[in-house]
């Protein structure tokens, strides 16, 4: 039913293309589409209004200078304004204090407990910290157990007091324990609460007053709708939090709430959660997010993730092979392994400009490569190195061995030949998107 924000903007901006200049009249339709796109992305009603007005003013203002390509100019304007709204640079968390206290706050089900675990893991493994987790959600059944299980998984101790029903007391005892055992960070998980729940809001204010945290994080589900603004504002009025954490960004939400929250409370978004696993945590990059929203693709993240996994030496060897037209099935399968190591395929592919859209309604199963792998593993080493050897009888044997059909094998061989051709042609591998979209998976 909904196109995503970038598609919308793309379409609306097309309306401007071919027009010589931006005028009040021709910009109106585009702005309407921009606004609509923002609303579909859950940007707050008022934020969207202000946003489009600002963009309009800027567009009309620039008209005086030169507007040879209004479409491009609008893309830039909208993009810049989006990035501006979300804050230009990434702001780190404050870890001053011994221990530094991080207080997590937010609505029910926003993902505070999981995020507490992720943060602890990040601080421990990437920043050399020695964190303690404090379980202060005394209300939700098994919330304390949940944090304990997470603590075990990442080898971080959890302070809990199953007897106490007083979160302030527990928090203070945790602080004492942290000092005693020389922890340099204390992460305090709290119960979810509604902003209008006076008693519960008072409780978290009391926790804040007792601990004097160096960092208060407001944890919000990136799928939140129009109410994000009210909730963020209320929590901020009460706690004057330091930063926002966006969770569940591995879904397909367009995350307009990020925009509205940032513009309403003017606090930086510091982290994003991108999965259920405890290392699925990223720092927030406003520019990238704006790019992503606009369909320019989150190419920087993709490159970074690829780099983490990619063996440079291997890549160089491969390059040579491709140039010499020696690319074979062994290389093919090791490429597949590389890609698989990088994470969920659809996530990855959606970061490539233009591909996200093409894949929107296509499922890329994590097992998409399964039958390809099965086929390749059913080849003899000789066949893998010399694919041209694979004749009719060999194909039948391979199909039988891999539990696929001869058609599947044929299709893979054909794709392999095409890929090989294409790789040689591109010889730099620049147009990855095209390569991927030409590659069909047997199923």
């Amino acid at each position: 039913m909904f196109e995503n924000l970038s598609e919308r903007l793309e379409r609306s901006l097309k309306l401007l293309k071919g027009e010589g200049k931006i005028t009040e009249i021709n910009v109106a339709e585009t702005l309407k589409e921009v606004r609509r796109a923002l609303l579909d992305a859950d940007v707050n009603f008022k934020t969207a209004k202000t946003f489009t007005e600002t963009v309009k003013e800027k567009a009309l203002g620039q008209n005086v200078l030169s507007a040879l390509k209004p479409g491009q100019m609008m893309v830039k304007l909208v993009h810049d304004e989006l990035a501006e709204l979300m804050g230009r640079t990434n702001v780190d968390i404050n870890l001053k204090g011994s221990p530094a206290v991080i207080l997590m706050a937010g609505l029910q089900g926003s993902g505070k407990t999981t995020m507490s675990g992720k943060l602890a893991k990040l601080l421990k493994s990437k920043r050399g910290k020695n964190p303690l987790l404090a379980a202060c959600d005394v209300y939700r059944p098994a919330a304390i157990d949940q944090l304990k299980v997470l603590g075990e998984q990442i080898n971080v101790p959890v302070f809990a007091d199953l007897e106490s029903k007083d979160p302030v007391k527990i928090a203070l005892a945790a602080l004492k324990q942290a000092k005693l055992n020389g922890h340099d960070v204390l992460i305090v998980d709290t119960a979810g609460r509604l902003a209008i729940d006076e008693q519960m809001m008072k409780e978290i204010t009391n926790i804040k007053d007792a601990l004097n945290p160096s960092e208060i994080l407001f944890v919000v589900d990136s799928m939140t709708g129009q109410d994000a603004v009210n909730t963020a504002k209320e929590f901020n009025d009460r706690l004057n939090f330091d930063g926002v954490v966006l969770t569940k960004l591995d879904g397909d939400t367009r995350g307009g709430a990020a925009l509205s929250i940032r513009s309403v409370v003017n606090k930086p978004i510091k982290f994003v959660g991108t999965g259920e696993k405890l290392d699925a945590l990223d720092v927030f990059h406003p520019e990238r997010m704006a790019d992503r929203i606009l369909g320019m693709g989150d190419i920087v993240s993709l490159v970074e993730r690829a780099q983490e996994q990619y063996d440079v030496e291997e890549a160089r060897k491969l390059q040579k092979k491709i140039a010499k037209n020696q690319f074979n099935f062994n290389d093919f399968i090791s490429q597949i392994q590389q890609i698989k190591k990088m994470g969920n395929l659809k996530d990855l592919a959606s970061m490539i400009p233009g591909v996200g859209k093409a894949l929107k309604n296509i499922d890329i199963d994590d097992d998409a490569f399964k039958s390809i792998e099965a086929i390749i593993y059913s080849m003899t080493p000789l066949e893998r190195e010399n694919p041209e050897l694979i004749n009719g009888t060999r194909r039948k044997r391979i199909a039988d061995g891999s539990g696929t059909t001869i058609q599947d094998v044929n299709q893979l061989l054909k794709q392999f030949t095409e890929t090989k051709k294409m790789m040689k042609m591109m010889s730099g591998g620049k147009n990855m998107a095209r390569m991927m979209s030409n590659m069909k998976m047997p199923n």
């Binding site: 039913m1 909904f2 609509r36 609303l39 579909d40 992305a41 859950d42 707050n44 009603f45 609505l107 029910q108 089900g109 926003s110 993902g111 209300y139 939700r140 059944p141 098994a142 919330a143 157990d145 949940q146 944090l147 304990k148 299980v149 997470l150 998984q153 509604l194 902003a195 209008i196 729940d197 006076e198 008693q199 589900d221 799928m223 939140t224 709708g225 129009q226 109410d227 994000a228 009210n230 909730t231 569940k248 591995d250 879904g251 397909d252 939400t253 367009r254 307009g256 709430a257 259920e276 969920n344 659809k346 499922d363 890329i364 199963d365 994590d366 097992d367």
Partner: protein, 316 residues
């Protein structure tokens, strides 16, 4: 101002009076500028748009509602303030699928026993809590209930459901964390059948709807239960978080594709969010909203009533 505040306890009653006032005046403004006219002027429609969009109704559904109002204003010519008011509400209510039940177990019109409910949804929407409350309500209607802890994935999810089972006083079938959810579901229906229980409610792990493998797992759970009860699950309840925006559409779409969702529950309506996205969802997928969650307590579940819901959108 929580839209369901009129249902709930006093702690929620000292709410934002200011907001209520603006809402009232918007409605007044709408009526004032339309009385005696045959068209609705743009200002009014703008106000209406703001109310609906700010309630997460979404652009498409809002436009649909506005179109319906415009055409009725054209056809029926004369309008009084009250007429407009009720027309507005009628048109919105018309989009919501009818929820036929009036009691919680009223819909058990099947000869098969037990009646099996499988509860699905994305992470953190309130599946487990809703199950706890539902179990309580069925029990209070004299039914025997068995819960199945098929969320074996999220840390301590089994413990959470166990605590609910204790609290309500119903039995629960569980295995260790990490166990195969389909196997837990199988055990649950098998046990419920042999003990001649009335209702089975299966909890499942939260899953983002764009993760294909996890969505496929639901099919497997279903298939396995059918070995014991051919028509199980009789009800697949998709739980939506009332504070979710337009992504709820995507959730409804993907979950209905993956499995035969035939009932919706909307949670967290005790907050300030209005859950308006459910109007468009119910309209497009023709699935009724059956239950709403209005708090974390055992009693905080209600049968959805569309009239009351639509009233609440306009703060009256």
């Amino acid at each position: 101002m929580g839209i369901f505040s009129f249902f709930t306890k006093e702690k929620k009653q000292q709410l934002d009076k200011g907001l209520e006032k603006t809402k009232e005046s918007v409605l007044k403004k709408i009526t004032r500028s339309v009385v005696g006219k045959t068209t609705v002027d743009d200002d009014v429609l703008d106000d209406l748009e703001e109310i609906l969009i700010s309630s997460d109704v979404g652009v498409d559904t809002t436009l649909k509602i506005i179109k319906r109002i415009e055409s009725r204003v054209k056809d029926e010519k004369y309008f009084g303030a009250n007429e407009l008011n009720s027309i507005l509400k009628e048109e919105i209510a018309a989009l919501l699928s009818e929820n036929e039940q009036s009691t919680f177990s009223g819909e058990f019109n099947t000869n098969e026993k037990p009646y099996v409910i499988m509860v699905v949804g994305v992470n953190g929407v309130g599946k487990t809590t809703t199950i706890g409350k539902l179990a309580h309500l069925f029990k209070s209607e004299g039914k025997t209930v068995v819960l199945g802890a098929a969320d074996t994935f999220r840390a301590a999810a089994v413990d959470q459901l166990s605590i609910w089972a204790d609290r309500v006083g119903v039995s629960i079938i569980k295995q260790e964390m990490g166990a195969d959810p389909a196997s837990v579901a199988f055990d649950t229906v098998t046990s419920a059948k042999s003990s001649n229980a009335d209702v089975v409610i299966i909890d499942t792990a939260g899953r983002l709807h764009n993760k294909v493998n996890l969505m496929n797992e639901l099919t497997k759970i279903k298939r396995v239960m059918q070995k014991v009860i051919p028509n199980a699950p009789h009800e697949i309840l998709l739980v939506l978080d009332g504070s979710t925006g337009q992504n709820a559409f995507e959730q409804a779409k993907q979950f209905t594709l993956a499995t035969e969702v035939n009932a919706l529950a909307m949670t967290k309506l005790d907050g300030t969010a209005k859950g308006g996205v459910v109007i468009g969802i119910s309209d497009q997928f023709k699935i009724p909203v059956k239950y709403i969650g209005v708090g974390e307590g055992i009693e905080d579940l209600q049968i959805f009533n569309k009239k009351e819901y639509v009233n609440s959108l306009f703060g009256s």
